[in-house]
């Protein structure tokens, strides 16, 4: 029953969120702020993780495919497809669920327990829409760009690994990342990230918005936001993969 209670309450919140904004310009300004706070401030972590993951994927593929019958350029292909198909969307989404999800839940949770949300309501502002809608829009706009950025940086990380370790020649690696390239994989990855962006922001906002009590409860909401966002990212990863690639 608890599960259905939360599902119902979540959709009720989303109905409040997706209503006509009271004053468009205020929502626009808030969205720009959120793009910076939630998106641009995540570029660093996406860069670091992607470059190292690209390098590790390349090295692991190289050390596990020491077969003379397999052409060495397949290592580049493996790095590229791993980054595009899974890492840059799903893994980056899981990382962002941790960073952005906990940020959203703790921000809204603190606003709730310090009565800032009540203050908005009393002024006549639709607090759910004003606080959550700009976050959803900002993440839906910026997360796919982070995915594209992660793909480029990840493949570059693989190339750097090749350059420094000489597991294969850089020429073979570059040939591999161009070999049998299917552009639709990028579309698939971006579609997944749009859905993940919505899941991360809406689920985290739900937990933050309905926080109560004090610091302890805000911490619990923040943890739940990350756990639930991660679980739903994995679930929707399976669903979307079946729907899009089948």
């Amino acid at each position: 029953m608890g599960f259905f209670f939360h599902v119902g309450k979540y959709f009720e919140l989303m109905l409040k969120v997706f209503t006509k904004p009271e004053k468009g310009i205020m929502y626009y300004r808030q969205t720009v702020r959120e793009i910076e706070a939630l998106g641009l401030n995540s570029v660093g972590i996406v860069f670091i993780i992607s470059v190292f993951m690209g390098a590790v994927i390349t090295l692991q593929t190289a050390y596990n495919t020491e077969n003379p019958f397999l052409p060495s350029y397949l290592i580049g292909l493996g790095c590229r497809d791993s980054m595009i198909l899974e890492f840059s969307s799903t893994m980056v989404a899981l990382i962002l669920a941790g960073k952005v999800g906990s940020n959203i839940a703790s921000e809204l949770g603190t606003m709730r327990v310090t009565e800032q949300i009540d203050a908005l309501e009393i002024m006549g502002v639709n607090s759910a829409s004003y606080l959550i809608l700009p976050k959803i829009i900002a993440c839906i706009l910026i997360f796919p760009l982070l995915t594209l950025f992660s793909m480029i940086v990840g493949v570059a990380g693989g190339w750097l690994a090749v350059l420094f370790t000489h597991v294969i020649t850089p020429t073979d690696f570059v040939y591999g990342i161009q070999y049998a390239f299917i552009p639709f994989y990028i579309t698939y990855s971006v579609i997944k990230m749009v859905v993940f962006a919505f899941l991360i922001t809406s689920i985290s906002s739900y937990h933050g918005y309905y926080s109560y009590g004090g610091a302890l409860e805000v911490g619990i909401s923040s943890t739940r936001a990350v756990v639930h966002s991660s679980v739903f990212i994995l679930l929707f990863n399976v669903i979307l993969t079946q729907l899009i690639l089948s």
Binding site: D118, A119, I122, M123, G124
Partner: protein, 252 residues
Amino acid sequence: MIEVVHVSKYFDNEPVLKDISVTFERGKTNLVIGQSGSGKTVLLKCIVGLLDVDEGDIIYDEVIFNKLNFGDKKSIRKEIGMLFQGGALFDSLTVEENIIYPMDMFTSMTTEEKIERANFCLKRVNMVNSNHLYPAELSGGMKKRVAIARAIALNPKYLFCDEPNSGLDPKTSIVIDNLIRELTEEFNMTTIVNTHDMNSVMEIGSKVVFIANGMKCWEGTNLEILHSDNQVLNDFIFANSLARHVKNTMKN
């Protein structure tokens, strides 16, 4: 004028407010007093619509507020200013931006007009030159004054204050109390203040409502309260030895 008519509120079938009826008049500082947990804050939240009443009506100048839909409530809410216990200032905004926020949201004033109004409100609460400070840089009393400035930014008809003196020293409390009274008279607002501070009662209580265990036990003025023979009220007012000493001195 705000009328509370036979209002009851339950949490998990437990009554928190029991059949409360009271009228809060315009231009007066109306105080709701009672022990912690007596239902004062729940009553205030029911009046402003943060909580739905289970029985009874909340009437704002002949409009039954609790029966309005969200959109219609908004028109009344724009005439409400509220001072929360902790101030509830928006952390990410400066003092000036906090005060300008309701104007940004609900008016078509120019930037200059908004800044002028913000400066007027800040001057009114003795907080000039604090425009660019963030809430984290303010003391408790300053936060309360900025919150009052934000509450009066749109010239509200109704002002609500939830424990305005909590966490403040007696001298700052008197400053806040006097400010609330002066603003109420100056802007002819209907003001409701939740408090358990007896200094506030004596300073500004033009009308005092005493609540105990979710029920209205007494109502009158700050002058009448000292001579009441209501035992529950007397137990609350004269709970400390200083108050008892004053009472005995007055009797003698």
